[in-house]
């Protein structure tokens, strides 16, 4: 007999019939009816209408019926809070039941009902259950505290439940201990600094005792908790390791991996000459190997972790290469991971085996895998010098197969090999040249062109080869075009007499016929270099290139140390620290490996000591926290954490956009000025190759170039190479770096042209069309007549009509939320733009963002959902009644501690203090008083944020000095930076 009978429907209407049955007098009928209700609920049907009828069935001595009703309650209580109250009495009564199973069930269920009124009644029963004589009840109650904390954290703290929970760590029953640890760990995750799990040798001892006796899941919780402890000395460390080692033989792979984490971490403290250290190393290998015989999903997670472990301690698995050999029927995600680890383990001792395997993989079916295998051969060559020759000959064999993608991949890696071992393997160039015609992927073409240019003097017909590429110059991708340009210049410098025409041709192609700024700039640079100083040109273009290193693919040591502390977690799968992606874990302390006790250690691995010092600083390679969406889109206006040079205000991209409106006219105005103006980069006159972009993509191969990153950061911040799109599409970002001289002029323009009112930045691109299947969104924020608005232009750049627009915000610092639906009433046809103003309110859910004024937005249309993030000027949150009374101002200013004061400089602002005051008033920044001391005007100002936070300011303006000083005081000092940015934005426009 099956449950599918519960799905038969009749004509009368299901709900109606169920209602009748639920109210039946017969117990059995009632139960069947509840089952039917549950069955409907499980498949997602809405049976909430039956709430009162189901709750009526709750008072029963039939345990199954009770459980079923509880199931229903948990699902629907949230939508019917008032009705749910009806259940409270029964719950409270059940918490006193003589049967511990019923007591536990009642407290457990109450915790799952996420309704405030119910939670109030939960406290007393919960307190009793936490001290219940029956451990089953206690362990259930422990988890219930975590539930309650999730619903109402304050309540849990006020009621002292956290302390009771801490006491449970010393409980006599191991299962209770495990659950208490689990609950505390979960609570601690949302309270990073709360020191909830205060680990000391006594608690550690208790945990270790419980570890042996609790369930497999409990063992995971306890081990993960142990991993956070830092032992006092190597002896304690060793004794913990000894007691954890047996867990390596557990059947549950999660237990094994958590144990590995504890051991990997505590091992750091053991002196390397200790016998036990060697024993431990040997014990770690077999369980890791065994993980690889489990289900593929488990293998995947294990492999991601092994990848970290072999980077930290390659000695553990150095003899186990074979277990990473790829099997034919492994899922692709396992294959790729295994390949990665094979390369990491490759050494002189096993390279022959590895190469034979890799060659075998290169004939497999899956194209992605084959490509990676070919690349792996190249990486082996770079890693193991002795094998380079064999790798090159293997690659040549593969090229002979003439399989198109294999050949292309091989050429790309051979280029890297040339850079690692110059002047060694150039004899193979002839073979490579034979395959010139079959290359159709940009990367392979670029690599080949690089090779021809680099070794032009040894290739007789280099000029012919390059010329052949030149024919279709405009159809090539940018990567190939840039490479071709550089290669021909190299060729010219090496063989000037025969190739003058060729170089002329490529330079004119690059500078005159191309609309790609990168290409044009590079063309101009070469042109000028060649025409002014050929010797310098030779020095620059043919400069000695740094050798590429074998370690390029390794994880940066600080990050690696942190990740080792996170073995077995999501962080270890993504190879990113948890702060980079786990929501709600902001401010989580970076974990680090403990330092070693033995002094000999620091000599052997210098990175341990030095790295520990900087471990606090988040490693630079990781995207800043909160950039979840930014990451996806690469769209952020200006990196808020940029460290080089004075940080540009986040809104600079927007405000500068205003100049562009005036740009055309001003260009001509300024033409005659004596100082050479920094002309916007997209000028079309060939006479102005005055670009700061001195080869940030230097003429070396794109990978491994050490200058690349620096160039992007240090050069002109907005001219990021990331914006590969044609310049016309984003004027704002291209104009942003223009600075200095222009500002004066624009200030005038701004002063005259702008209406006095709240300043709002011009629209900037929030969501480029290429990231959103053709939907482009530009927009800005404004406060108009006391209403915050998000003003957007939606442009349809796709081929089909877009409809059904909707918008949603992620939780954000000030609770911004749409006040109504997005009003796009008509479908947007291709190439059509539509303007929308979305009124916002500030009553949405709040979560602190980084930076504070970051807003993550999701826009939906009939095609897909798209995400972007943008930063709003905080000035739009300044409310109209932000003018403080003088006396209050004085008192408040004194009252706020000096630690909360921050000072900023506003540079190049040429307004008088009155004009500034007027301007600021338009944005609800009110001047309360003005004082003049020694020719310096001091303006005292106040503003109030929508959430009631007051910000007090003192603005100092000295006649004749274009630099203002501003001091901000606020009880929430984290807003100061944003407020300052708004000042700057308002004053400069």
């Amino acid at each position: 007999m099956t449950d599918s009978k519960y799905f038969t429907t009749t004509k009368k209407g299901e709900i109606f019939e169920l209602k009748a049955e639920l109210n039946s007098d017969k117990k059995e009928k009632k139960k069947e009816a509840v089952k039917k209700v549950i069955a409907s609920m499980t498949v997602g049907k809405d049976v909430s209408a039956l709430f009162p009828d189901v709750v009526n069935c709750m008072q029963t001595d039939n345990l199954e019926l009770k459980k079923l009703v509880y199931l229903y309650l948990m699902n629907y209580a949230k939508s019917q809070p008032d009705m749910a109250i009806m259940a409270v009495n029964t719950f409270v009564k059940d918490c006193e039941d003589p049967n511990p199973l019923i007591r536990a069930l009642a407290v457990r269920t109450m915790g799952c009902i996420r309704v405030d009124k119910i939670t109030e009644y939960l406290c007393e029963p919960l307190r009793k259950c936490l001290k219940d004589e029956d451990p089953y009840v206690r362990k259930t109650a422990a988890v219930c505290v975590a539930k309650l904390h999730d619903i109402n954290a304050q309540l849990v703290e006020d009621q002292g439940f956290l302390d009771t929970l801490k006491d449970l760590i010393s409980d006599s029953n191991p299962m209770v201990v495990a659950n208490a640890v689990a609950a505390l760990s979960e609570i601690a995750e949302s309270h990073p600094n709360s020191n909830l799990l205060d680990l000391n040798p006594q608690t550690i001892n208790k945990l270790l005792t419980a570890l042996n006796e609790c369930t497999e899941w409990g063992q995971i919780f306890i081990l993960d908790c142990l991993a956070n402890y830092t032992p006092r000395d190597d002896r304690e460390s060793q004794s913990i390791c000894e007691r954890v080692t047996p867990r390596l033989s557990h059947a549950n792979s999660a237990v094994v991996l958590s144990a590995v984490k504890v051991l990997m971490k505590f091992m750091e403290m053991l002196p390397k000459d200790l016998d036990y250290y060697g024993t431990l190393l040997k014990k770690l290998a077999p369980p890791l190997v065994t993980l690889l015989s489990a289900e593929p999903e488990l293998q995947y997670v294990a492999l991601r972790n092994i990848n970290l472990i072999v980077q930290r301690r390659p000695e553990i698995l150095k003899h186990e290469m074979k277990v990473f050999f790829v099997k034919y029927n492994d899922p692709i995600y396992v294959k790729l991971e295994k390949l990665d680890i094979m390369i990491r383990l490759a050494s002189q001792a096993n390279i022959a085996q590895v190469l034979a395997e890799l060659k075998e993989y290169a004939t497999e079916v899956d194209v992605d895998f084959v490509r990676k295998a070919v690349r792996a051969i190249g990486r082996c060559a770079i890693k193991v010098e002795q094998s380079a020759e064999r790798c090159v000959s293997t690659l040549l064999d593969l090229i002979q197969t003439k399989v198109n993608y294999v050949v292309q991949e091989a050429i790309v890696v051979i280029k890297d090999i040339f850079r690692k071992y110059p002047n060694k393997y150039e004899s193979v160039i002839a073979t490579l040249c034979e395959n010139l015609d079959s290359l159709d992927e940009p990367e392979a073409r670029a690599a080949m062109i690089w090779i021809v240019g680099e070794y032009a003097e040894r290739i007789d017909n280099a000029d012919e080869l390059l010329e052949s590429f030149l024919e279709g110059f405009h159809d090539e991708s940018t990567q190939v075009q840039l490479q071709l340009l550089t290669a021909i210049v190299k060729l010219f410098l090496k063989k000037p007499t025969e190739t003058q025409e060729l170089v002329q041709q490529v330079l004119s192609l690059a500078t005159q016929d191309s609309d790609n700024p990168d290409l044009r700039d590079r063309g101009y640079i070469y042109w000028r270099l060649l025409s002014t100083d050929p010797v310098a040109a030779k020095e620059v273009v043919l400069a000695e290139k740094p050798l590429i290193s074998e370690e390029t693919d390794l994880i940066e040591p600080t990050l690696l140390e942190e990740l080792i502390c996170h073995i077995g977690t999501l962080a270890s799968v993504y190879h990113k620290p948890p702060s980079a992606f786990v929501e709600g874990s902001r401010g989580v302390q970076h974990k680090r490996l403990p330092g070693s006790a033995g002094s000999g250690e620091s000599v052997e691995s210098p990175d341990t000591g030095s790295a520990a010092g900087v471990a606090d600083a988040p490693p630079a390679v990781i995207p800043s926290q909160g950039d979840l969406l930014g990451d996806l889109l690469n769209l952020d206006l200006a990196p808020p954490t940029a460290t080089t040079g004075p940080p540009p205000p986040a809104t600079s991209g927007m405000q500068m956009g205003a100049m562009d409106l005036l740009g055309g006219g001003l260009d001509s105005l300024m033409g005659d000025e004596s100082e050479p103006p920094p002309i916007p980069l997209r000028t079309d006159t060939p006479q102005s190759p005055q670009s700061p972009q001195l080869s940030h993509q230097s003429p070396s191969p794109p990978d491994y170039s050490p200058t690349e990153l620096g160039g992007d950061l240090g050069g002109s911040p907005a001219m990021g190479a990331g914006f590969g799109a044609p310049p016309a599409a984003m004027p704002a970002s291209f104009n942003a770096p223009v600075s200095g001289g222009l500002d004066d002029l624009f200030d005038l323009g701004g002063g005259v042209g702008m209406p006095m009112g709240a300043y709002s930045a011009p629209k900037s691109i929030w969501l480029p069309a290429m990231k959103a299947k053709g939907l482009e969104i530009t927009g800005t924020f404004a406060r108009r007549a006391g209403v915050i608005q998000m003003e957007m232009t939606l442009t349809n750049k796709a081929m089909s009509v877009m409809t059904d627009f909707a918008i949603q915000f992620n939780r954000n610092s000030f609770g911004l939320a749409p006040a109504g639906p997005l009003q796009v009433l008509t479908p947007v046809s291709p190439n059509q733009s539509i303007e929308v103003a979305l009124p916002l309110n500030t009553v949405g859910p709040v979560m602190k963002m980084e930076p504070l004024n970051n807003l993550q937005v999701a826009v939906k249309n009939n095609i897909d959902v798209f995400y972007f993030s943008s930063q709003y000027p905080i000035s739009m949150l300044f409310v109209e009644d932000g003018k403080m009374e003088r006396q209050v101002f004085l008192a408040t200013w004194k009252d706020i501690p000096n630690d909360n004061e921050s000072q900023f400089q506003i540079k190049d602002c040429h307004l008088s203090s009155d004009a500034a005051s007027n301007k600021l008033q338009g944005s609800n920044i009110f001047t309360i008083a003005k004082r003049t001391v020694d020719g310096q005007d001091m303006l005292y100002q106040s503003m109030k944020l929508t959430n009631g936070i007051w910000v007090l300011a003192e603005l100092r303006v000295q006649a004749g000095n274009p630099n203002y000083t501003i001091s901000l005081k606020c009880r929430a000092p984290e807003v100061s930076q944003c407020v300052f940015q708004s000042y700057e934005a308002v004053l400069k426009n």
Binding site: Y136, V301, E357, L570, N810
Partner: protein
């Protein structure tokens, strides 16, 4: 911890959802569907996916995806292990783990899920404990329940939950006391073209079926325990005894369970029971090729190789195969391009051979990739590693149980390259 679970069938329909905390909208699965679409084969969907606000961790079992949603930093192995446990439990309760059977037992499934996880923390995952609380469905009981108004749900606190042997219930009684152990070994191997072993290892498992009255304490010892490179035990095994004496000492769960799994790694010499002589070649012109495979016995310790089967994954351009088998039958599946040759018992006097011609799509060039062979086989009464149980002793109870040990060797991922 684990927030929600979605069960998704082969064609991408969500047919069951369960939330242990607040409700998460189904739309979160869209990210998974996107990944599934990209992966083409369901086996290739990556098990851990990241979405803007959640993490999706999934396993693929019996043509079903078990997709869990987590919101905080949770050990993914913990989630994956748990999901497999859920699938195992369904298998155990309903005999199979399929969409049909789950839909037929929806309420039981829902009760089970509620019992297995509380607020995302595992609560009761031992099958013994679960079965005491929620009885598995069977026809007889449904009839009785309907007649008497009895219930499926136990109303006693499961004894195992709290004792320090949570895996065993108290008061077990049998009229026939018996303990059977199956030592099953799988050979994972890669052989290259010339028949040389590239890699070989043995994955072993000791499955037990113990039906003994009371609280028996068992000790199982091996003739040659040092053979094992790595072992993982059921929680019932006392690790200290193993460390010091290399014997398995334990109070067994009641019924079927996996006592231990072990691993004999490639460092030791692994015996390969058969050899394969094969030649699959394609001609440069004429769009055809030739296939010739012979299998013979190698190191099989004098036992018979049975259930022999060869699976050949052909390149995509192979249109048909015209082959002759001296023993057994072969099939060629056009859609998947797989030749399956079912041989059966291996006769050392008359070696099985499969040969013939392959024809390619007209005009297609010689394929780039090499076909690959997978071998299946079974050898009864042999553990290929040489592992032998020497004795089983029982303490704590007076009666004399019936004991038995069986051995079986199988091919695991046994692959021959061409």
């Amino acid at each position: 911890m684990i927030h929600s679970l979605f069960l998704i069938n082969h064609s991408g329909d969500i047919f069951l959802e369960k939330h242990w905390k607040s409700v998460i909208s189904r739309s979160v699965c869209d990210y998974f569907f996107e990944a599934k679409e990209k992966a083409v084969d369901p086996e290739n969907v990556a098990p851990v996916l990241q979405t803007p606000h959640h993490y999706l961790i999934s396993v693929y079992r019996g043509k079903l995806f078990f997709l869990s949603v987590v919101q905080t930093e949770v050990p993914p192995l913990f989630v994956i292990e748990f999901l497999h446990r859920v699938a195992d439990t369904f298998q155990d309760y309903f005999g199979e783990c399929s969409e049909g059977v789950i839909k037929d037992n929806l309420v039981t499934v829902y009760e089970l899920l509620e019992e297995m996880l509380d607020n995302g923390f595992p609560l009761a995952t031992e099958s013994n404990v679960l079965k005491e609380m929620i009885r598995p469905p069977n026809i007889l009981r449904s009839v009785v329940n309907t007649l008497t108004g009895g219930s499926n749900v136990g109303d006693k606190l499961p004894t195992g939950q709290l004792s320090n042997v949570p895996w065993r219930r108290a008061g077990v009684k049998y009229t026939n006391n018996e303990a059977y152990f199956d030592v099953i070994e799988e050979i994972d191997a890669i052989l290259d073209k010339s028949g040389t072993t590239v890699f070989a290892e043995i994955q072993g498992v000791v499955e037990a079926c113990v039906r003994l009255t009371g609280m028996p304490d068992l000790t199982l010892s091996f003739m040659n325990p040092r053979l094992l490179d790595d072992v993982s035990f059921h929680p019932c095994v006392r690790f200290k005894r193993w460390e010091s004496e290399r014997v398995l000492s334990f109070i067994p769960p009641d019924g079927n369970f996996t006592l231990m799994t072990y691993h004999v790694s490639s460092q030791n010499l692994v015996a390969i029971p058969v050899y394969v002589k094969q030649n699959i070649s394609f001609f440069e012109s004429g769009s055809c090729g030739r296939l010739d495979i012979t299998i013979g016995p190698k190191q099989n310790m004098g036992k018979t190789v049975e259930g022999l089967m060869v699976t050949i994954h052909m390149p995509k351009v192979v249109l048909s195969a015209n082959l002759t088998a001296t023993q057994g039958n072969y099939t060629y599946d056009l859609a998947t391009k797989v030749v399956v040759w079912d041989i059966g018992k291996l006769n050392p006097q008359k070696l099985p051979n499969l040969r013939g011609s392959l024809s390619l799509q007209a005009g297609a060039p010689k394929p780039d990739e090499n076909p690959s062979l997978n071998i299946d086989l079974k050898i009864q009464q042999l553990a290929i590693s040489g592992l032998k149980v020497s004795r089983l002793d029982m303490y704590g109870e007076k009666y004399k149980p019936f004991k038995g040990v069986k051995y079986l060797t199988k091919a695991g991922k046994f692959q021959v390259r061409t």
